[in-house]
Symmetry: C2
Subunit: 144 residues, 2 copies
DNA sequence: TTAACTTTTACGTTGCGTGAACGTGC
DNA sequence: AGCACGTTCACGCAACGTAAAAGTTA
């Protein structure tokens, strides 16, 4: 029966965190590199990362924010505010408003594109005239 | 009065091509690296790229295809077919049909996202309860 | 001579995936 | 001693942008 080392009762290694969070080991290391996990990770004497269970709250927040369109650097900015003890909700709201705007713009741009591709396909000439073939790559894409 | 070297009458240097095409010098070099320009470029004795005027047709095709959502590797594939003397229109059409499909999927995904962000913002709690603050980063983003 | 142009090399961007080569733990 | 697990490089992707250091010249 082995003695339990120090106060390592609740600490998890990276593989366990990966399995329970659904993120890959590589992703977790990458997040730590970016400074997203800092306050919830220490190292064992041999260099292993040891995660406190509160890491799962952090990871859930990261996943949720990412799914809503926030970049990892925006998420880091938010987490830093939280780690200072402040409430980052103001920044979060602001970023989400921005995202909503860019989402609308992206949808609009894609709808325009959709119409353009559709019109090209519906006007497609299966057998273009020989003189056009010489000067273009595919005549159906050239407006001239 | 300088003698005209060989048949270099119509050849353009990269800066001129950049200005006339609206692409940057860096972009042109990058395209050549990818093999997109191969048959329309040679080198002078001192190593300068020399472009034939037909390069503008190529660049126009690349720009147009890119604007329609084709990747540079897809475009290269199409140009290679053309350079073999064949008509790439079949492949172009096929790719455009695929793009149309992914455009629709992207629009759909963005619309879902739009709804989700909107609902988060409309249900925003400016002052969350203190017990929730402890366990979350920003309570407005946590479903629990 | 200089200004303006060109060359190659190499790193930064975003969010990781994919090894390589090697140390740790049970 | 073996095998799963951990570690740190370091490169790959997409489409270029941004210097850096050096050679060319319509």
């Amino acid at each position: 029966m082995a003695m339990r080392t120090l106060a390592s009762g609740e600490l998890l290694k990276i593989g366990q965190v990966a399995r329970q969070s659904g993120l890959s080991v590589k992703t977790l290391r990458y997040y730590e590199d970016l400074g997203l996990l800092t306050p919830a990770v220490e190292r064992s004497r041999s260099g292993y990362r040891l995660f406190r269970p509160q890491i799962f709250n952090r990871l859930a927040f990261i996943k949720r924010s990412q799914a809503l369109g926030l970049s990892l650097s925006e998420i880091r900015e938010i987490l830093e505010i939280r780690d200072r003890g402040e409430l980052p909700c103001g920044v979060v709201k602001q970023r989400l408003r921005q995202k909503l705007q860019t989402i609308r713009e992206q949808i609009h741009a894609l709808e325009i594109l959709q119409l353009e591709v559709q019109s090209i396909l519906s006007g497609w000439q299966e057998h273009p005239s020989p003189d056009r073939i010489e000067r273009t790559i595919c005549p159906n894409l050239q407006t001239d």
